[in-house]
């Protein structure tokens, strides 16, 4: 090896080493980031918060929503708390969202991590209340119904239903949560009188299922709820207008049978 070869070799080794440091460091760093970003599955976000992934990208962690909140509801997650570092969240059992109609937290957000389009607080979906029916006083058979009474959108988000009891003539009056109207404010969780709340707010994707597009709910198509069912035009090419319901579906419900 002559001198220039040695110099070249030295240079290449140096470059490779630097690249190795950058790649190793970058790998550890991005592990930390993704670890942090996926740690927030249980965090209940302020109203209008985008889906977690977009929220993580757009939240600048400035805490202006926390300052704007007139209650002690919102917190910025410090390291070690159950939400990704620096992001706003609240613990409904400690302090729920009282659903201010002017949504000051969302107005204060400078980045749009709390969706600027949200204009009615009733449209927000901070979480979804779920009832532990094994420990709910009403489901056990007592008259409680506190969650129903405190619910800011009662009769839509929480209803009280009759539920016959097997061994008694008396029916139970049980609360039911409807995801179509529940905002996840957590006032029910705060008010629940059991030692550990039997109604709790969680992120909807943790508890909500999805039946899938292939189930055709024939009895609902009459009301126009078709799960976006689109008839296959190849089946009946001669028809000018596509049928509103799936072909051959209605006979089960027709009066002729």
């Amino acid at each position: 090896m002559n001198l220039s070869d040695k110099a070249r070799r030295k240079f290449l080794v140096k470059v490779t080493q630097n690249v190795a440091v950058a790649v190793t460091g970058g790998a550890v760093w991005s592990y930390l980031l993704t670890e942090q970003a996926t740690a927030g599955t249980f965090a209940i976000r302020p109203p209008g918060a985008l889906a977690e992934k977009d929220f993580h990208a757009k939240c600048i962690k400035c805490g202006q929503c926390v300052v704007a909140c007139p209650y002690d509801t919102l917190k910025l997650a410090a390291p070690g708390e159950p939400a990704p570092i620096g992001t706003p969240y609240f613990t409904p059992r400690d302090e729920p969202c009282y659903m201010c109609p002017d949504i000051p937290c969302q107005v204060a957000c400078p980045t749009g991590a709390l969706e600027p389009e949200l204009s009615k607080i009733e449209d927000s979906r901070m979480g979804l209340a779920v009832i532990d029916i094994e420990n709910c006083l009403s489901w056990i058979g007592l008259r409680c119904e506190v969650c129903y009474r405190v619910c800011p959108v009662k009769n839509d988000a929480i209803t009280i239903e009759e539920n016959p009891r097997k061994i008694s003539k008396h029916a139970k009056f049980v609360p039911l949560v409807h995801s179509s109207a529940c905002t996840g404010c957590g006032i029910c969780e705060k008010a629940c009188p059991t030692e550990v709340a039997a109604i709790r707010v969680v992120q909807p994707q943790l508890v909500q299922g999805k039946i899938g597009e292939h189930y055709r709910l024939g009895w609902k198509t009459q009301n126009g709820i078709t799960q976006n069912f689109k008839p296959d035009l190849k089946v009946s090419p001669r028809q000018k207008e596509p049928p509103k319901t799936a072909p051959g579906m209605d006979y089960l419900n027709s009066e002729k049978l």
Binding site: N18, A22, G25, G26, W29, S30, L32, L33, T34, Q36, A37, K53, D54, H56, A57, K58, I60, K61, C62, G63, Q64, V66, V67, A68, K75, L76, A77, A78, P79, G80, E81, P84, I85, G86, A108, C109, P110, T111, G112, P116
Partner: protein, 306 residues
């Protein structure tokens, strides 16, 4: 036999080199410390305004004084401010942001384009920790554990931008000890103090001026954007004796390049944080805080520079 006259070292301007002597009087000392005192006042006042607005509901004309934190804030309910580096990282995750934060980031970017890296020494709260570590390190005379190049910070800056694109979150903002600190002071720090202890120990025992001077990508960002800053330390070439008292106190001593300073009449490097420590220790009154467009280059009467 007459005693030989004591050997006097002469500077390049032919004047004798005098060391910096700490004045004995209290007011003299205060004058030497004045920029450190100003900086602490600015740093603490900034944090206090955030803290007071959040915890005690401070308002002026019924508007919250300063809400948010150093990542993004609103002054008097109307003027938005935002960390331009954090905003850049967030834009790199391919998410368009609301105009408030974009306007705020432009305002702060303009501020530090004019005032250089003044953020680092006048506002950033981590500066309190690293200054303390630096002061203690000098007293204990601790050598560096291993050498690290100062340009490492630019690689960290580059890596931050790349990782923001790859991971889809603002890579530095999510781990930044700066944010952990000011967020913690205002909203509660949790386990965040461990990050601050880590920086303190790193700066004290491992690498001199380690975090601010070698690694911090935010400092690197402002060093790049503040390259043409208006606020600069002017350098009066004819009076300088190269006594190097300024170099001894400077946290970024590589910026005190006398040859370059003589050519431009100022400390032109963007890495200078405008902390003004050098000004008060200069025995010849060579250095001043000044504005770039007012600085004129004075010819040195170099005699025996060889």
């Amino acid at each position: 036999m007459t005693p030989l006259p004591p050997k006097v070292k002469l500077g390049p301007n032919g004047q004798p080199v005098r060391p910096f002597v700490m004045p004995g009087s209290f007011w003299g000392k205060l004058s030497v410390w004045r920029y450190i005192i100003y900086r602490r006042i600015v740093q603490f006042t900034t944090l206090l305004l955030f803290f007071g607005t959040f915890h005690w509901g401070w308002t002026i004309f019924e508007k919250p004084v300063l809400s948010g934190n150093l990542s993004s804030s609103t002054l008097l309910g109307i003027i938005p401010m935002a960390d331009p580096f954090a905003t850049l990282q967030m834009l790199l995750t391919q998410h368009w942001l609301h105009s408030d934060v974009l306007i705020g980031a432009s305002i702060i970017l303009l501020l530090y384009t004019l005032s250089g890296r003044a953020w680092c020494s006048w506002v950033c709260p981590v500066n309190l920790i690293t200054d303390l570590a630096g002061w203690l390190r000098k007293r204990l005379n601790i050598p560096d554990a291993f050498p690290v190049q100062r340009k490492t910070r630019y690689y960290v800056l580059g890596l931050t931008l790349v990782l923001s694109v790859i991971t889809g979150v603002a890579a530095f903002e999510w781990v930044s000890p700066i944010s952990v600190f000011h967020r913690g002071v205002i909203f509660g720090i949790g386990l965040g103090w461990t990050a601050l202890v880590a920086i303190f120990v790193f700066d004290l025992l491992i690498l001199k001026h380690g975090w601010c001077g070698h690694l911090c990508p935010l400092g690197a960002f402002y060093a790049l954007t503040g390259k043409a800053a208006q606020l600069r330390i002017s350098f009066d070439t004819p009076t300088c004796t190269h006594c190097c008292e300024c170099v001894r106190v400077c946290p970024e001593p590589q910026v005190l390049n006398f040859k370059k300073a003589g050519e431009t009449g100022m400390i032109s490097s963007g890495e200078c944080t405008n902390c003004a420590r050098c000004i008060t220790v200069c025995p010849e009154d060579t250095l001043h805080l000044s504005l770039r467009h007012k600085i004129t280059v004075k010819k040195s009467n170099e005699r025996n520079l060889l």
